[in-house]
Symmetry: C2
Subunit: 206 residues, 2 copies
């Protein structure tokens, strides 16, 4: 692409560094910003820059936070003795959006994946075990993606938690709501047969 | 979407204001920036902000420019007596990318469209006529989108240019390279039959 302005080209190149944004999309975004008021664009860049410099990670659960302790960990209405273990911040946001969970979280910041060179030491696992020991946690719920890495991580952490008197569960896996049996993979369909539910509990949960 | 950080939420909201970017994509972009170095993110926001405040529009052709006159208008290697009339900056970039054009441009900044309330007075048409008169332009090439608005605009400007001794042309319209006759609309196919080319000129242009 040929630009007649270096300022424009630099801006397009910066946007094109973002994931999933190619040169053409970057140009579209920059030309959109060019049409906005100067004030609005400087507000945009200030908010982004401020987000990066001022955001913190909760010292207890490693979720993003505006302070040292996040708003979930400091909320006394939430069950502080229940911990949902997730891979990353995006999963916290997904679960919070269901409005069905009232405990706390623990963000592992990744998942055990020997192929990618990610071992347990690079994840927030030791801090989880220390937390369970110190806080006398009642229940750990694993909400990890249902794949080999997720299962390996659950297995590893669950062994570490055995000395403690804590209930360990995982979110249900099965046919997604609105999904079709016909197109479900064998693993999912097989597991959802094994973990079948009594119809009374299914109906009462609706 | 539920965020546990106001800083994160503000940044996501700013990205989601951009065209074609929804909340989920915005979150993905923000979480990507969160993983980058502070320096890189502040560079990103500086470049965007600088682009908006410092960019200028060429006083001669209304293309984006780093100075008062753009790099195309001030380039003596380009045919200064040939003007390609385009709708917007994006079209300049598209034509420049072909590397087949060595004249100058005139950016109308829109197209005559009574339905959208855009008349000739809102476009850079007077300045084009003044430019042709003053600079003794040899050729005007219309590179407007082939639709009713484009044709109306060509018709309007061409009438305005009649007093001057200037050659007025338009880019060829026809079946796109790689296109299939079968799927071409009647208008395009009809016009490309009317404007058929001698095979010698077609072959020599390849």
């Amino acid at each position: 692409m040929q630009f007649s302005s270096q300022l424009l080209e630099n801006a397009v190149n910066e946007f094109a560094k973002l994931p999933g944004i190619g040169k053409k999309t970057a140009l579209r975004l920059v030309l959109h910003l060019l049409k906005q008021d100067t004030g609005e664009v400087s507000h945009f860049s200030e908010v982004i820059s401020k987000m990066r410099t001022e955001i913190k990670f909760c010292q207890r659960c490693f979720n993003v936070s505006d302070g040292d302790i996040c708003s979930i960990c400091s909320n006394s209405l939430r069950k502080q003795d229940m911990i949902c273990v997730v891979e990353n911040i995006r999963d916290v946001i997904a679960i919070e959006s269901t409005q069905q969970y009232s405990g706390t979280y623990h963000v592992l910041n990744g998942i055990i994946s020997p192929l990618d060179g990610i071992g347990p030491d690079q994840l927030n696992i030791e801090s989880l075990v220390a937390r369970v020991q110190k806080e006398k946690t009642q229940e750990i719920i694993f909400a990890l993606n249902p794949n080999i890495q997720g299962d390996t991580t659950i297995y590893y952490i669950q062994k570490k938690l055995q000395p403690f008197n804590v209930r360990v569960t995982t979110i249900a896996r099965g046919i997604a709501f609105g999904g079709e049996l016909e197109y479900a993979d064998e693993m999912t369909l097989g597991r959802s047969l094994q973990n079948r539910l009594p119809v009374e509990s299914y109906v009462s949960n609706r």
